[in-house]
């Protein structure tokens, strides 16, 4: 019988041989210990490669990536192009350069309007209310605290953050709209993750005339409302559901 060459052995390990050829290798393996050991090593390498990379399959997909595959909303469609181009030009290696990544991130988080970019440039992550983790924006400080604790049904007139709607999104997360009243006022949408409240949308909010506290939901910029409409499954929570969600840790 012909000796088994390296190519054949590799094809055997990779499942590329015709059954008849594979049977020949099987037969050879039975009485050739060296050969059997080489097959075993090659199989172990395959197994270890799978073990090293397959956990990626179970990681949650970052929201800024899945957001790219959402149906385009009327507001987002046109202005998204320049953002994408700017991003593209940076290249994927640029992610480690801190400053550009921080500036680009809000744009990546949603199919964004240029308004977001303007907001992002001016309301830098790194101030007290936003932190960036793995390229995603998360609520921090007073914003995070309000999202965790405040109930729309029990508004606190002294609070700087007002919660609007709370609802469950189509991907099963609890999301809440908010308005942050400190000047400049911001409004946005936050969705709960293990890592905290991600902020798929943040916008400049118009201050109500005379400074009175209005219903947060009616303050929502149109694109925050559009982001809610794109995500919401069923109805927004009522006061009892909101309280229960808080008790359950927003899961």
């Amino acid at each position: 019988m012909n000796p088994i060459d390296d190519d054949t052995l590799q094809a055997y390990v990779d499942g590329e041989l015709e059954p008849a050829s594979a049977a020949l290798v099987d037969a050879a393996l039975a009485h050739d210990e060296m050969l059997a050991r080489r097959v075993q090593q090659a199989q172990a390498l395959r197994t270890q490669l799978k073990a090293a990379f397959d956990p990626v399959l179970d990681e949650p997909v970052p929201e800024h990536l899945s957001a790219l595959l959402q149906p385009p909303s009327p507001q987002a469609a046109t202005p998204a192009a320049p953002v994408a181009m700017a991003r593209h030009r940076r290249g994927f290696g640029a992610g480690r350069r801190r400053a550009p990544r921080r500036w680009a991130m809000p744009a990546a988080a949603v199919a964004a309007s240029l308004a977001v970019l303007a907001v992002a440039l001016w309301w830098q992550p790194g101030n007290d209310l936003v932190r960036v983790q793995n390229g995603q924006q998360f609520a921090a400080g007073a914003l995070s605290k309000a999202l965790n604790q405040s109930l729309a049904s029990e508004p606190d007139p002294r609070a700087t953050v007002t919660i609007g709607l709370t609802f469950r999104s189509a991907d099963g997360r609890i999301c809440r709209t908010f308005v942050e009243h400190a000047k400049p006022a911001m409004a946005g949408l936050a969705c709960h993750h293990r890592a905290g409240w991600s902020l798929p949308v943040i916008r400049a909010a118009e201050q109500p005339a005379g400074g009175e506290l209005r219903q947060a939901a009616s303050d929502m910029p149109r694109d925050v409302q559009a982001a809610v409409d794109a995500r919401i499954r069923g109805e927004a929570f009522n006061a009892q559901q909101e309280r229960a969600a808080r008790a359950a840790g927003w899961r």
């Binding site: 390296d6 190519d7 590799q10 094809a11 990779d14 590329e16 090593q41 090659a42 172990a44 390498l45 395959r46 270890q48 490669l49 799978k50 073990a51 090293a52 990379f53 397959d54 956990p55 990626v56 399959l57 179970d58 990681e59 997909v61 970052p62 800024h64 990536l65 899945s66 790219l68 595959l69 149906p71 994408a84 991003r87 593209h88 940076r90 290249g91 994927f92 290696g93 640029a94 992610g95 480690r96 350069r97 990544r101 990546a108 793995n134 390229g135």
Partner: protein, 162 residues
């Protein structure tokens, strides 16, 4: 259904595999997700070029491979703009991953690009030799010889631990 909608909806279930491929190609987590973003943007822009009878996964993997090659070239020209490799988090998983997984991922990241893409497509993604040859537009013999040399390199790496 128009092509862009078909591509967009078809890509959603492929995202985890696309991220795995990107991780194997690009190495660093941040780079890999940046690559995925570029790939998604390209795929959506070129949705009209996808023939519905062609498998979407192979089509988008080819886009990923080409985007990665483009970025490697761009990076080669501007190498000095980037911080050294060790500054990022390496491919397969954070601090809790067993050391060997990290080391193997690092060994994959250290392979020459020709070898790395074959390892990523055949050994990690599970494509057949023919599918990989088709995607990379090289003869099957080139796939098997690159794979054999990559295996020797990776095996030598594992041999250090066992």
């Amino acid at each position: 259904m128009d092509p862009s909608q078909a591509v967009r909806e078809g890509l959603i279930p492929l995202l985890p595999r696309l991220r795995r491929l990107a991780r194997a190609l690009a190495g660093q987590i941040a780079d890999a997700d940046d690559l995925v973003q570029i790939v998604l943007e390209r795929a959506l822009n070129r949705a009209a070029q996808w023939r519905p009878d062609a498998p979407l996964d192979k089509w988008v993997f080819a886009i990923a491979r080409n985007a990665w090659r483009d970025e490697m070239r761009a990076r080669g020209r501007s190498q000095n703009l980037f911080v050294p490799e060790e500054a990022g988090v390496t491919a397969a998983d954070g601090s809790s991953a067993p050391a060997q997984k990290l080391e193997l991922a690092a060994a994959v990241a250290a392979l020459p690009p020709d070898h790395r893409e074959v390892v990523a497509l055949v050994l990690i993604e599970g494509l057949s030799y023919n599918e990989a040859a088709d995607l990379l537009q090289v003869p099957v013999g080139t796939i098997t010889s690159r794979l054999a040399r990559a295996r020797t390199t990776l095996q030598a790496h594992l041999g250090k631990d066992t």
